[in-house]
Structure formats: C-alpha cells, structure tokens
C-alpha cells in the first residue's frame, strides 16, 4: 500500500468518511460538467427531489456535440441543439457557472479548466469524461466518472470510491528532437499495456517529465486512462505555479501567497512508498504511431508492424483483430502508409503549443492534394491566441481547414467524421474501431507534428525529416 505520495496526501485531505465494505467517501473539490454525461444526472436529481449541494464547485462548458463549421443557433442537428439547451437550462436552474459558445471561455472541458486557472494543485477533480486525468498534470487527483457518479457529486459533492494503488513511472534523461510528449505516453502505454493501470493511479516522474512544459504534461496525464489508469498525476513545481499565476480563477494577492505556500508543500515525499515503480529511458523514445485498434498497439516510425509471434499470448487476440480491421499485414512498415484525413485537435493535443509545433512544420508547405486536413483549436482562448500569432493563417495557407473549438473528430459526435474505411492521422487519443465516426474508419494516433508531416506528404512520415 502506497504511503506519503502526493496521491495519498490529497486522498487523505479529501476523505470525508469510511463506507461499509472498505470504500471511502471522498470530497470532490472541482466538478466539471458538459452536455453529454450530465443531463441524466440532473434528471435523477429532479426525480430524487435533490438540489446541487455546492453550485460554486461545479463548472460547465459545451464541447462534445458542438459543430466546428457553423456554430450559429439553433444547431442544424436537432439532437445536438436539444443537448445544449438542456445544459443551458440545467445550469441556469441550479446556478452553475457555464462557459457557453461565444463567452470567450468555451472549449474542450480539459483545455478550458486549466487555462482559466480552475485546475489547481492538491484538488480532487471529477468529470463525466475519462480524460479528466488530464488535470493531474497540476498535481491534482483527477478522474473520470459515469453519469450516476455525476449525480452523486452534484447532490453531495462527494463520491464513494475505493482508494487506488500508486505506480510511479520514472522517465530518465530527456526526449530527443522531434519527439514529443505524445510519443512518450504512447511508448509508455505500449510498454505497460492498456490494462496495466486498472486499480492504479500513475505518478509520472523523473528528469524527462520535469523537463516538459505544462501543456506537454497535460498530454501525458490525459492518456493515463488509455493505459487503464483513471488517474495520472505529476508532482507540481515552479512551472506549474507560474502557469497558473494570473489566470482568471487563479488565487490573487494574499490568496496567491497562501496558495503558493501550500502548493509548494504538496508532493510525494522522497522516501514515499509506491505499490509499483517502472523506469524507462525517455531518450530512447522515437516518433511513435499506432497501427492497431487500441492505443497500446504502437510502434516507432521506422519499425514494422509486429508479427504475431513477436507478441505475448495475451496480445495476440487483439492483434489479429487489428490486422484485419486496419488491413495491415504483419511485418509491414508503418512509414509511408497513405492517409486520407489529418486531424489536429482534442483534449490530448488541441492546445496552443500543439498548434505552434504543427504550424512550424506546415509553414511554407502545402497539404497533399489527396488529404482532407483540419485543425480544431481546443478552446476559444486557444483559437484567439492562435489568430493573434498568425497560426490560423499558416494552417489555412497550407491547405488545412481552420475550425471552431470543440471535441470534433476525436469522437465524431458532430458532423466531423471519417467516411468508409478512410485512414486518419490524428492527434487525438483513441484508435478504437469506429471511434472517428465511420464503423470501418481507421485511426493512426501520433503527435500533432507528425500529423502535420503526414498531411504534407499524404502518408505517414518522420517529422524529424522536416525539422532538421
């Protein structure tokens, strides 16, 4: 059982009571909601005649269903319109802060909360979305929940949960040029497997993690869930505090000084005990691309798709399914695989630094004529910042479509979808069968820089050939 890790400290601080059977009642410091997983929770509150316990601890935005081409209301899609109206009504009835389209603060919930300074070290954060692990980048304990649990947080500001074990993933050295946080996290998931994190919180640590910017750290923690860990976190440091400073909801004046003193004390002790420790060398990671139907099925850009015999017995079943679905042959190189669609966006890689990196690759180049490419900023703030820096123009000049903020083709709940068995090079987080909107669509996950390189060449490419 772990001791004195950041996870233990934050858990203990938020523990309200012990429940029968060994689970704990945990206070949730920040509850984020969106239009897809909250309506039934509000419905249940109504049925049970309950109110929202602390409306000031819940914040809402709209992201999954929003169109990224024409956002005028009512939306063309009646069901999407009904969902946003339901959220508007619920937030207004229960006095919940809501960042709607046009507010200047709307966007993907996991992009919005950090950029507004809502996400802070030492908090517990829950949201009806599995990528809530993103917020762990700030040294908070953050995890995805289902709709019944959204109801519980609304009604009681607490959750019944079994305490997780803690696995430290220590990353030595640092990433080499042309290799990004996305490559590192895909590498970690590949090494550990997509179910290794079940029952665990992942603590990402070591020199390679320390070196990363806050946005890169968010990419790492975001994908903890793809390795099975519903919670991933990084001990906060000076980078964390300076990212938060002066944000809209960051503590101000004397509150800032108090907050800082507390935050500086919040980290895993040097001699803390972990349930498990894994060490890896980040300098060995290369640009990484998924070839299969789980985020664990990835290889370096110059590697071949594994042969069945090279895989562990447990991985063979899914590998066979993946060869067939992806129409890949074992032993085939991933490099030069033709792509039809290139997507840059999502809660994994839709932040300003992601757009900057991709724009650097795209500048002065043209997207291949066979490729439909589009960039979807993670939030209205990201979009504004990108425009101020002229990034939107670089994207448009290269042949990318520049869209309005939302989740878009990461999960294709709006009209941004793959068609038939198109192959997509995507900066998102899931390559599941059908994930990007077509039941036979194929997704190759990679870093935004690698998506940009694929867009130019019309095929999977090594971005290092563009930046040297």
């Amino acid at each position: 059982m772990s001791q004195d890790t950041l996870f233990d400290k934050v858990w203990d601080l938020h523990k309200v009571s012990s429940l029968p059977g060994g689970s704990d009642q945990i206070f949730i410091g920040l509850h984020l909601i969106h239009e897809v997983t909250s309506p039934q929770a509000f419905g249940a509150l109504k049925d049970k005649k309950l109110k929202v316990k602390f409306p000031d601890r819940t914040v809402a935005t709209v992201d999954h269903i929003v169109p990224t081409d024409n956002q005028s209301r009512p939306f063309k899609d009646n069901l999407a319109e009904q969902m946003i109206e339901t959220l508007e009504k619920n937030c207004s009835e229960h006095n919940i802060r809501f960042f709607n389209i046009g507010s200047g603060n709307q966007g993907i919930v996991h992009v919005v909360a950090p950029e507004l300074g809502l996400t802070q070290p030492g908090m517990t954060i829950a949201c009806g979305d599995s990528h809530t692990s993103t917020h762990g980048a700030f040294g908070s304990i953050a995890f995805g929940i289902g709709t019944s649990q959204v109801r519980d947080v609304l009604a009681t500001q607490t959750l019944a949960m079994n305490k997780l074990k803690v696995r430290q993933i220590w990353c030595d050295n640092k990433l080499s040029k042309g290799v990004y946080a996305k490559d590192l996290v895909l590498h970690i998931i590949n090494k550990l497997g997509v179910k290794a994190g079940a029952g665990f919180a992942y603590e990402f640590a070591g020199p390679a993690i320390h070196e990363l910017s806050m946005e890169e750290r968010m990419t790492i923690c975001n994908m903890s869930i793809e390795g099975g860990a519903r919670c991933g976190y990084i001990n906060p440091d000076a980078k964390t505090f300076s990212y938060i400073k002066n944000k809209l909801y960051a503590p101000k004046n004397e509150h800032w000084d108090r907050a800082l003193r507390w935050w500086e004390s919040l980290k895993s002790d040097e001699n803390s005990i972990y349930d498990d420790v894994i060490k890896l060398d980040a300098s060995k990671v290369e640009p990484t691309v998924t070839w299969g139907i789980t985020p664990g099925q990835s290889i370096s850009i110059n590697q071949q798709i594994p042969l069945l015999d090279e895989l562990s017995p447990n991985d063979k079943l899914v590998a066979e399914e993946a060869y067939e679905y992806m129409s890949f042959k074992p032993g085939q190189l991933i490099k030069d695989t033709p792509v039809d669609v290139c997507f840059i966006g999502s809660c994994t890689n839709g932040r300003i630094s992601d757009l900057r990196v991709a724009a650097k690759v795209l500048k002065g180049k043209k997207v291949s004529k066979n490729v439909k490419a589009f960039a979807v900023p993670g939030s209205e703030k990201v979009a504004t910042e990108a425009k101020e820096e002229g990034l939107d123009q670089i994207f448009k000049d290269s042949g990318f479509q520049w869209r309005e903020p939302g989740c878009s083709m990461c999960l294709a709940m709006n009209s941004d979808k793959l068609i038939g068995n198109q192959v997509s090079a995507s900066s998102s987080n899931r390559n599941f069968k059908g994930r990007q909107g077509s039941p036979s669509g194929r997704t190759l996950l990679m870093s935004p820089a690698m998506v940009a390189a694929a867009a130019i060449n019309g095929k999977v490419s090594d971005v290092r050939e563009f930046i040297n």
């Binding site: 309200v16 009571s17 069901l79 995805g144 959750l159 997509v194 860990a229 909107g437």
Partner: protein, 203 residues
Amino acid sequence: MKSDFTPPIGKISNIHGQCISLIGNDIDTDRIIPARFLKCVNFDSLGESVFEDDRKTLKGKHPFDLEENKNASILVVNSNFGCGSSREHAPQALMRWGIKAIIGESFADIFYSNCIAIGIPCFTLPKKSIEEIQNYCNNQSLLLEIDLKNSLAKSKDLNFNLEIKESSKKMFLSGEWDATAKLLEKSSLVERKYKELPYVKFI
C-alpha cells in the same frame, strides 16, 4: 431488446439466467455503444443500439443477434472489458438489452464503477474458467445460478468460485448500491470538509 425493462432496485443477492458469451480482449465502450447514440438526454432507447456497429459488421452473427441468446442475462467476457470512454451509456445499453450481471477476466475501472452504480454486479474469474464457460456456450446454452453472498456460480455441469470486490458485494447484499443516499447521510461532515479545504478560500 426486451420491452419489459425495469431498472433493478434494492437488494441483489441471486441472479439466475442464461449466459451470453462475447469473445475479445479490450472491448471498449465506443464499441458497446458508438458515440452517435450519446446524443440523448435520457438512456431509454439505448438497448436496441448496443454493439450497433459490431452487429452490423457481423450481419446477424453477433452474439447479441443470435436467436438462442435472446433471453440471456449474464454476459461472459474476456479481459479489460469496457475500456476507454467513461460513458455510462455503455452499461445502461447492456442493461436495457437484458444484461443483469457480467462475468469477465477483468474490467476497466470506470466501466466497473458505472456497472456497480446502476446495479449490474461484475465478477471476475481466471482466464481458464472464462474460456471454459465460453467453450461450453459455443455448444449449448448455459444457465447459471449466481449466489452473491457466497460468490458462487452454479449450473448443471459447471461450478465456479467468483471474485467480486468486497465493497461491491456488501452494497448489493444490503441494497445500498445506489450511493446517493449513503453519501447524503454524512452531510454535516461534508460541510465541515468544504470549510476546511484550503483552496475553497483561494478564489
């Protein structure tokens, strides 16, 4: 999909039903219920869309389409079932199709929590036992009697000692698996905690 759906309430101690075997590791919640069906403000009509894309691909040969499985209620799966998205729509769709319990090699964490929260007990068994059940189901229908108190699954030919988290087991046996009421009991402690937390005062 069964037309007479009523959500479970109260104590759950025995589940009697036919098994339906679904082979595959890492079956994610996007496959259980594709995202386009999440455009809804209630869960009512999800049952008919469960595994929609997989079923279309298999043109009637998916286990959820086979005539002999139409009354099945105990789903038997392999490892990391329900990985990916936190959408509760996935267990809601399974429940509305007719699933009352799931036995698997392992479950993804959020999916497991969602199942418990809506009254679907999830049990684990070693890979070998799951394969034994799945092979049996290939040839004939398997009726299981699950005794939650003793964590036993019995049938005419096969018997298993099931594993279930102690906290989940207690909740189902006492009927307190709908957590809201339990959490509300500690209202005064929750208010004290709210006042104690340093960051609440930061803004």
